[in-house]
């Protein structure tokens, strides 16, 4: 097992090297990143104590090491964690941002995974955006399900999957603004990361469930929203916006996934089992590339149209369900409070 190979192979997916971003894009994202990190440093300084410094340092090392834990997916490829959503879910959004920023900075400084000029963008995509999704999608979703175990599973999976997709989308956006062809970058990045996101989701859920069941006290103190009281609190208006946004993003994802899902009705697992995960995932990308590189085809247009219609339907569904659950959640919150007293 060659560590260098391992470290490199797993990182290449999203770390933009120097040279691919135009200078204005790189600098603009640096500015964004600096502002966000500044806010995060502030927030941490205000809300938490000096205990957080060693904690966050060790957590950055933890994420780094956790990325090395992989599982074989047939065909010589392996799945592993990126960790942004997990960091935000376990540590809270601001600590999550700082931890992930340090991880990505270390990867660039120590191993040249991702460039230095592109570091601002890389930190934003894989650190800040993923942590933000972890918080803005994860927290309301967790509350929506009222602290149920299956809620943790569903919310964790969705959050993790979304965080990967959002990071991939942002990466693509930056590359495209820098002058690369949108018709190549978007499908290639999103397609591959739809699968990477599934691995991310599975690992995140298992890790989250492990921590919550082994050290519930810890999960609650580190990220306040994993505490039982916070989970039972009804979802407010602000969070509903978050949930709505999540619904939207899921819908986009579903639209993107639909061609694949229809190709293998038994689900992704079967595909992965029989044929090899990424081989299967990458194959179509390379088949698709020529389609998309030829300008003026009506194929993409119809796909996008279908996607948008699907998006609207799913969006309406998610919104409806969330409204329904919200009503039920309030009723249950009271019932559980009285129940827990006698139960303890």
């Amino acid at each position: 097992m060659n560590l260098i190979d391992l470290a490199q192979r797993m990182q290449l997916a999203m770390h933009i090297p120097d040279g691919f971003l135009s200078v204005p894009v790189a600098l603009a994202w640096w500015a964004l990143t600096i502002v966000m990190i500044g806010i995060a440093v502030r927030q941490i300084g205000d809300s938490l104590n000096e205990r957080q410094i060693p904690l966050m340092g060790v957590m950055a090392a933890f994420i780094f090491a956790a990325q090395m834990l992989n599982f074989p997916v047939l065909g010589g490829t392996s799945g592993h964690l990126l960790g942004g959503a997990l960091a935000a879910l376990l540590l809270g959004p601001w600590a999550g941002i700082l931890v992930m920023s340090c991880v990505i900075a270390l990867q660039a400084l120590l191993f040249q995974d991702g460039g230095l000029l592109a570091l601002g963008a890389n930190i934003f995509n894989m650190g800040i955006a993923t942590a933000a999704i972890g918080y803005f999608a994860g927290m309301p979703l967790l509350r929506l399900f009222g602290g149920k175990r299956w809620g943790l599973v569903v919310a964790g999976f969705i959050t993790a999957w979304l965080s990967v997709m959002v990071a991939a989308t942002l990466t693509s956006v930056e590359l495209v603004i820098s002058g690369l062809s949108a018709a190549v970058v978007f499908p290639a990045m999103l397609f591959v990361h739809m699968f990477i996101g599934i691995g991310e989701g599975l690992i995140t859920v298992a890790a989250l469930a492990f921590v919550v069941s082994t050290r519930p006290d810890l999960a609650a103190t580190l990220a306040g929203y994993l505490s039982p009281e916070a989970l039972r609190r009804p979802v407010g208006r602000g969070s509903m916006i978050g949930v709505t946004g999540v619904g939207l993003l899921i819908a986009v994802g579903a639209a993107l996934l639909s061609p694949l899902a229809s190709a293998s009705p038994d689900g992704l697992e079967r595909v992965a089992e029989d044929k090899g995960f990424l081989d299967q995932a990458l194959g179509p990308v390379f088949n698709l590339l020529p389609d998309y590189t030829i300008p003026g085809l009506d194929g993409p247009v119809s796909t996008i149209l279908a996607g948008i219609i699907g998006l609207l339907i799913v969006f309406a569904l998610v919104y409806g369900v969330s409204l329904l659950l919200r009503g039920r959640g309030e009723g249950r919150a009271i019932g559980q409070q009285s129940g827990s007293r006698s139960g303890d």
């Binding site: 060659n2 469930a209 492990f210 069941s213 082994t214 050290r215």
Partner: protein, 234 residues
């Protein structure tokens, strides 16, 4: 049961960790592997189930040489337990952990359940199935770590420093456990008292070579030999 012929191993960075090792371990034989830090004990153990592969030399397990095709079967034959049980125990409950090996072997649930219960019984940890390894004492975790490989019913156990870090009482329990297990064993250790109590045969490694291979009494009584290899008297 286990036969190493002319085993050599050099780490990628050039460290020559093992040099021309020849060893035979019979069925049910218990062998202690001692020697100073860096002698190559852990490296040798890692060869027994093919985690490290020798370039020259050969290892046969129950008559079959270790090869790419057979590597997974070899792992069912040779149960490897590492020093730090936290590395070995990564599941939320003891049951899941002990079940990992059998599940990975593709056994059906009934069988897995039976094996888990039997393995836990062997190490004296029955009733701990639902407990979290994270919340148990070091001695208990060491026992469970041994159970995680016993559930695969291996013919040989390879243990790396099993008694390190245990307090005297837990260590006593471990010694009794090792004596009671019927499997062949290769156990690396710095604990010469355990050697005296459990292992009839001792192999001394020094700088990657077998410096002594014979009855434990012979070496334990020989102060000069012990001194030479940086070992303690028991």
């Amino acid at each position: 049961m286990l036969e190493l012929t002319d085993l050599c191993y050099t780490y990628p960075d050039g460290t020559e960790a093992l040099r021309h090792i020849n060893l035979r371990i019979a069925e049910g034989e218990k062998v202690a592997l001692v020697g100073p830090n860096g002698a190559g004990k852990s490296t040798l153990l890692l060869h027994l189930n093919g985690v490290l592969r020798c370039r020259t030399g050969a290892i046969t397990v129950a008559g079959h040489p270790i090869a790419d095709e057979s590597i997974r079967q070899v792992r069912a034959q040779v149960g490897m337990v590492f020093q730090d049980p936290d590395d070995q125990l990564f599941s939320p409950t003891v049951f899941d952990d002990v079940a990992f090996g059998p599940l990975h072997m593709g056994l059906d649930e009934q069988d897995v359940r039976g094996r888990v219960l039997r393995a836990l019984d062997q190490v004296g940890m029955s009733g701990f199935e639902r407990r979290m390894p994270h919340h148990m004492s070091l001695g208990q975790r060491k026992r469970v770590a041994i159970a995680t490989v016993l559930s695969m019913s291996p013919g040989v156990l390879a243990l790396d420093e099993p008694s390190a870090g245990l307090d005297p009482r837990a260590r006593r329990g471990l010694i009794d456990l090792l004596r009671s297990l019927p499997q062949a064993m290769v156990v690396s250790t710095h604990d010469m008292r355990m050697v005296a109590e459990v292992f009839p045969r001792t192999v001394v490694l020094a700088q990657g070579q077998v410096a002594f291979d014979g009855p434990s009494e012979a070496i334990l009584g020989d102060g000069e030999l012990l001194e030479r290899y940086g070992l303690e008297r028991p």
